[in-house]
């Protein structure tokens, strides 16, 4: 069609592309920062199995169903499973990572508020999945 101007379409395409780039860059960057594990982070081995969580600290002490950590110290969770796929979740600290048999997934967090926080499996893993819970105890380091 002669005399037809299509510049609004190009403006629209430009704005959409710019928005998509911005959204993608922001999300990618936040993920990148979050996955940057501090070198001094203490390792806690987390094992999921039907239907409870086992935690092993660096000094070899083990806990079942509850996890005690110190405030202000970064921790790196090495998460795996012995049977089916589970998902390790500490909702209040936005920690969520799948526990997969034969694979170790890592996620780190920094507890900074004393208190008790629920731990919950977030991947349906069988009959008692709903009750595959634990408790995180954040204690003062002093």
């Amino acid at each position: 069609m002669s005399g037809h101007s299509n510049w609004p379409e190009w403006v629209y395409i430009g704005v959409v592309v710019a928005l998509l780039v911005w959204v993608g860059a922001e999300a990618w960057n936040v993920e990148r920062i979050i996955e940057h594990i501090p070198e001094e982070a203490k390792v806690i081995k987390v094992t999921g199995q039907q239907w409870f969580w086992t935690f092993e600290h660096e000094d070899g002490t083990k806990e079942i169903g509850e996890l005690h950590v110190k405030k202000g110290i970064p921790y790196k969770f090495e998460i795996t499973s012995t049977d089916v796929i589970h998902s390790f979740n500490i909702h209040d600290y936005v920690v969520l990572m799948d526990a997969v048999p034969g694979r170790i997934n890592t996620v780190w967090f920094l507890p900074f508020d004393e208190g008790e926080y629920p731990i919950q499996c977030r991947e349906y893993c069988g009959l008692i999945h709903y009750n595959m819970r634990g408790t995180l105890y954040v204690e003062d380091d002093a």
Binding site: V11, A25, E26, V30, I33, P38, Y93, V95, L110
Partner: protein
């Protein structure tokens, strides 16, 4: 076309290049403690803001378009094809 290229250059300068630079430069320092709770929820709220703004603009444009170009609008003008049978050919 020149205007469009100019617009892209402005967009590139103002938005895209700073965003990429910011993305590549942040979070490089070791032992940098972050509050993942704040970061993740802030990202979520920013993304929700973008999603709702885009949704409002798109649906608003559609509503305006439908309202403005409805047949019963007093300002509506018939296209040059209407009544000529041109559309049927």
């Amino acid at each position: 076309m020149r205007k469009i290229i100019g617009l892209y250059i402005v967009l590139l300068t103002l938005v895209i290049i700073p965003t990429i630079e910011y993305a590549f430069s942040a979070g490089d320092e070791p032992s940098e403690y972050i509050d993942r709770r704040a970061l993740i929820w802030n990202l979520f709220f920013r993304m929700m803001t973008v999603a709702f703004v885009v949704g409002a603009v798109v649906s608003g444009t559609l509503i305006w378009l439908i309202f403005r170009f409805r047949e019963s609008n007093p300002k509506a003008k018939p296209t040059k094809y209407e009544g000529t049978g041109g559309l049927d050919q």
